[in-house]
């Protein structure tokens, strides 16, 4: 198991490098620089700024310099928010996304896994209802659901605030979490159901029944582990997406999350901020893929052979 983990870790490094390089190249290729939109500034001031941020050096030199900086864990300064570095900006924005994204995924698993398992085990009308609900959930885009639930709960019924962070008070979390969780619940239900359906058809489940095991023992003891393998594959990138924030949710509910900073950074040509978020995202994805691989190997020992 340890060797498997190590081999997956080694394979992850090139992917991360590719992501960093791709982002770097795209940003540098783009026309315009970080200081173009400012009020016209004297040439020597601009030259000094560019020299300070190493923007006057050759591209390969900038690239290497950046890699070195990353190795120290420093995501660099922000060209736009000059008083704070990228690390600080992310640290400010992260709690918002962690709270909302984390709760949304938790809700999705708490509702979706039992629902999917039940749909697969019982079949019949439970399955049909679960199927309809989950497919509807996938078909409804977030940017449609979010305004609609604001319309219903904040405007018509006036039960909850329409947006804002409110220091993280629970009232402000309900609507964003609900909007974000809906598609996740749908996906989790579908994937869990598919996983269970596949597992329950396997011969070893029939053999377990022939041994006299109770339905509970079969579902939880024998069917659960192999059924969760496809779900784990889905949750990896989903967790990363949830943590790095949904741009739509943040803008609809007026939240200052990482997504918002990213968009502002892109519009302000704040290379450093955009790169910083991209690198964070890339690193998280690589970690998530690693975690998925390891978790799958834990759930199904046959995976370790590949």
């Amino acid at each position: 198991m340890g060797r498997y983990a190590l081999s997956r870790l080694v394979a992850a490094v090139p992917t991360l490098l590719a992501i960093i390089t791709l982002a770097f190249a795209m940003l540098r290729i783009a026309p315009g620089g970080p200081f173009d939109s400012e009020r016209a500034m004297p040439a020597d001031v601009r030259a000094a700024l560019e020299s300070h941020y190493h923007l006057d050096e050759s591209l390969p030199a900038q690239y290497l310099h950046y890699l070195g900086q990353l190795a120290r864990g420093d995501l660099g300064p922000s060209y736009y928010y000059r008083d704070r570095g990228v690390n600080e900006l992310i640290a400010e924005a992260l709690p918002v996304d962690l709270a909302i994204g984390g709760l949304a995924l938790l809700l999705a698993c708490l509702v979706g896994i039992p629902l999917g398992a039940l749909a697969a085990w019982r079949g019949g009308w439970v399955d049909r209802v679960a199927g309809f609900v989950s497919l509807a959930g996938i078909s409804m885009p977030v940017y449609v659901v979010a305004p609609l639930i604001i319309l219903l709960f904040a405007v018509s019924l006036q039960w909850l605030p329409a947006g804002g962070w409110g220091g993280g008070a629970p009232r402000y979390l309900v609507l964003p979490v609900m909007a974000m969780a809906l598609p996740y619940i749908a996906y989790v239900t579908r994937i869990t159901r598919a996983g269970f359906l596949d597992t329950l058809q396997q011969p070893y489940i029939r053999a377990a029944r022939a041994r006299g095991l109770s339905p509970g023992a079969i579902v939880f003891g024998h069917a659960l582990r192999p059924s969760l393998v496809p779900l784990v594959a889905f949750l990896g990138p989903a967790v990363v997406g949830a943590i790095t924030g949904s741009i739509v949710i943040e803008s609809t509910f007026g939240l200052d999350g990482i997504g918002q900073f990213f968009v502002r950074g892109a519009f302000n040509r704040d290379y450093s901020l955009v790169m910083g978020v991209t690198v964070l995202y890339g690193a998280l994805i690589v970690l998530a893929n690693l975690a998925v691989d390891l978790l799958q190997a834990l759930l199904d020992p046959r995976v370790r052979l590949r």
């Binding site: 992917t15 590719a18 992501i19 791709l22 795209m26 940003l27 290729i29 783009a30 026309p31 497919l135 509807a136 996938i138 078909s139 409804m140 885009p141 940017y143 449609v144 305004p147 609609l148 319309l151 405007v155 990138p237 997406g241 790095t244 949904s246 741009i247 739509v248 997504g259 990213f262 968009v263 892109a266 519009f267 040509r269 955009v274 978020v277 991209t278 995202y281 890339g282 994805i285 893929n289």
Partner: protein, 266 residues
């Protein structure tokens, strides 16, 4: 036992497609000419504005159907392109195997990890708002799933006797891929298509909603959703109707795709 196709979804889809295709002949109103005498009408029978008009006096129902038409058109074209790219990619990767396979699929993996929304935003910032950009953005991601699926199927087909027979007979690799493998993938391809189209419709709607896709006077479901969201407190119908059409379209396509997939045992 063949899984029966979902009739309701098929009917709804048929209805939407029919409306989208026939709309130029169905109504005297067009979708872009403002009518300042009739702005912001509620749904009514007289005057032929069955769902009312928007803030520029344009008939809502007609705009809705045109939006459907344009969204479906974009989806069809983009899906077709994705299909060709994905099919070729997957078949080559699956059949040739080895190093080529590893490289091709690694590219797919990296592209798969790219978060779509930030990617599109960066593209817009860099290259401005352009309809072509819309196609590029959509095209860049929708072929990935198709590539994965066709590769998996090709891996299975590769070991079958008729392929080995063709190889023994001395057929060249491209010939085998084109004449033997691809025809056997057509069933799967159809399934992928029915699942790609709703994804592309959703994506196009999203991009248009962000203002990055279809520009005025062109309309699409995304554009109508954006307009509707902006006016939702005063006229919720402007949001609810396009939302209903989009959700129904995507739902029906997905439902159909699921049923077809069950049939093929995918």
């Amino acid at each position: 036992m063949k899984v029966p196709l979902p009739r309701v979804s098929l009917a709804l889809l048929g209805l939407l497609v029919a409306c989208a295709v026939l709309i130029p002949w169905l109504s005297p109103h067009d979708y872009f000419t403002p009518d300042w005498d009739n702005t912001e009408l509620p749904p009514q029978w007289s005057g032929g504005h069955l769902l009312g008009t928007d803030e520029l006096g344009r008939d809502l129902l007609v705009r809705l159907m045109w939006s459907c038409r344009i969204s479906l058109l974009v989806a069809a074209v983009a899906s077709a392109i994705s299909l060709v790219i994905g099919l070729a990619w997957g078949v080559v990767a699956g059949y040739v195997g080895g190093r080529v396979d590893a490289i091709l699929m690694r590219i797919v993996d990296v592209l798969y990890s790219v978060p779509f929304t930030p990617f599109v935003i960066v593209l817009t910032v860099l290259f401005g708002r352009d309809l072509v950009l819309l196609f590029i953005a959509i095209g860049a991601v929708s072929w990935l799933d198709i590539a994965r699926v066709t590769r998996a199927q090709t891996l299975g087909l590769r070991e079958r006797e008729f392929i080995i027979a063709a190889e023994v007979a001395g057929l060249s690799r491209p010939a085998i891929m084109w004449r033997h493998i691809v025809p056997n993938l057509l069933g799967i391809t159809l399934v992928c298509l029915t699942l790609t189209i709703p994804a592309v419709v959703s994506t196009e709607a999203f991009l248009s909603y962000l203002g990055l896709g279809a520009q005025s006077p062109l309309t699409s479901l995304g554009v109508m959703l954006a307009d509707g969201a902006a006016q939702m407190r005063s006229r919720p119908l402007l949001l609810v109707m396009p939302a209903l059409v989009l959700v129904t379209l995507v739902y029906a396509c997905n439902r159909l795709g699921d049923a077809l997939r069950d049939r093929h045992g995918l």
